[in-house]
Subunit: 76 residues, 2 copies
Amino acid sequence: MTVQLKEGVLDPEAETTREALERLGFELEALRAADRFEIDLEAADSEAAYDRAEEMAERLLANPTIHDYEVSIEDQ
Amino acid sequence: MTVQLKEGVLDPEAETTREALERLGFELEALRAADRFEIDLEAADSEAAYDRAEEMAERLLANPTIHDYEVSIEDQ
């Protein structure tokens, strides 16, 4: 699952990283940072896994006021 | 680009997140956290973009002692 600030929400950490890269001589147009969570869980099927992951995002991992999140499922 | 702690490196932040999810009643087997950086840059081709991103990882975004990183390129 990837949790990222919504467009328009300031991200001073990403801004600092971009400036540090520029000080090192790199040229870049934009840098966006996101948190990725890889979660192993048992579920009956992909749909059940997706629902559980979505609930984890809603209840803890993302703040709906400022974050967008994206869930993807990998069978194992 | 995704920057993640190498296997075997302790990640107290991920551990805390896992515990918080369990306190909320979620059952999960493992949780790994990673940082994802989305960087826009001009480059002659995908290979040049890849090399630049890899250099950014080596010089700033990842610490080779504790991190693995993975670069993927998207044409725009």
